[in-house]
Symmetry: C2
Subunit: 220 residues, 2 copies
DNA sequence: TATTTATTCAATAAGTTTATTGATTAATTG
DNA sequence: CAATTAATCAATAAACTTATTGAATAAATA
């Protein structure tokens, strides 16, 4: 093979792979699939896309083997094809937050508006886990909690939080977490909790970051 | 800001960043800029693009701050904006080689055709560096050698190799390296050397990978 | 200050990507 | 085996991306 044809093939194939990720909806799908397995209609509901459009995006991701699917009754359950896909998304996300001022600002403004002023990183959390009165609150939908959650975390999906407030201690610190830095459930939880006088903070990262660091986690 | 508008902004900005990389020519440019600084016309020559087209691609990369430029006389010298850009390219490249069978096959076939049957990784090279008779041969253009090279490496740009053969020892092993796994200079060097009876192998990775691992390197 | 030179800009046509719509498929389950 | 259901396909229009061309710009040197 000629030198030029060779380079065209290699860089072309890598560009095809990159193109599969180079779309806001598909990045959102990858970020969602980091939580576990989802059927097409679940992904459509979570992202606000139509079923057909969701399917189309999933075909693109499947075409370069970034996701895979297996049938489960009437449903096709999609998932990330391997842990490196998550590592790539995490690198992209971190690069954006650290190096692109506009992204960091959008996130900061959104949280300020909800009076989410402080966040806790996984590193900081590890130092606090054995402290008295630290409560871990998982505010994701309950099936995502079922597919893996932080050790000892209480499941309280954001929609149930208001009516279940009395289950939470009035002293100590509540640390709410959800899917990742761009997930808003934890921000909403912190806003609700602090406005009622519960001391609360959000975890900067999400459950997939905990899992990816090989920290122990609980199932079901 | 509304939840949906927020997600559109965040994932949109990250998709814009990814889109800047999602093109074969721009990936090739990033791979080249990993060697050091280049003027627009150098990049155009190396990639075979027109000057205007090269400039256009560089504007796209500059627009998301993946590259930066400074003036030097009549020339504008472009470079990668920061080491994380190289880390991202390296991750993409490694993912492609490890997970996309088609990419690995194209590289393998190209090398087989040139009878480049064995390669040495940086890890393997580190164990051999103190052995008798190991010669490191840098077959990149001499200005790239000048911008950084492996300790003790001899500079012999691929075009000069044939006429300078007698400078090389007939015994021991010659390890040729260049820009990275997709750079063909080292493959061509190994083909030429082995066909003349010099025992030669190529380094799988390139100089930027050595540098990125914080291993010591020489300048000028 | 005029000339040279490297780079960018602007306009364009061809090709690609996207969301939408409605029809179709494939598999499960009653 | 018929009905149901989840997911995909196919066609389309609108919006983007790309390489090409030739003109314009901005900075450096004579």
């Amino acid at each position: 093979m000629e030198k030029r044809a060779y380079k065209d093939q290699v860089y072309g194939a890598l560009a095809d792979l990159t193109k599969a990720l180079a779309n806001p909806r598909r990045l959102e799908i990858v970020d969602l699939l980091a939580q576990g397995e989802f059927a097409v209609e679940d992904i459509a509901r979570e992202t606000g896309l139509s079923i057909a459009n969701t399917s189309q995006h999933l075909q693109v991701l499947k075409g370069v083997q970034l996701v895979s699917a297996t049938r489960d009754g009437h449903y096709l359950r999609y998932r990330l094809a391997n842990p490196d896909v998550y590592a790539a998304w995490q690198l992209l996300r971190t690069y954006g937050l650290n190096r692109q001022a506009n992204i960091a600002r959008v996130v900061h403004d959104f949280r300020s508006q909800r009076e989410v002023l402080q966040t806790v990183s996984i590193d900081e959390l590890l130092g606090k886990l054995n402290d008295e009165g630290v409560v871990l609150l998982d505010v994701r939908p309950s099936d995502e909690y079922g597919q893996g959650h932080l050790p000892g975390a209480v499941s309280m999906p954001i929609g149930e939080l208001l009516e279940r407030l009395e289950e939470l201690p009035r002293t100590g610190t509540i640390i709410a977490y959800c899917r990742g830095p761009f997930c808003v459930f934890a921000d909403e939880a912190v806003q609700l909790l602090t406005s009622r006088g519960y001391p609360a903070q959000r975890l900067e990262e999400g459950f997939p970051d905990w899992k990816h660091r090989q920290l122990p986690y609980e199932l079901a």
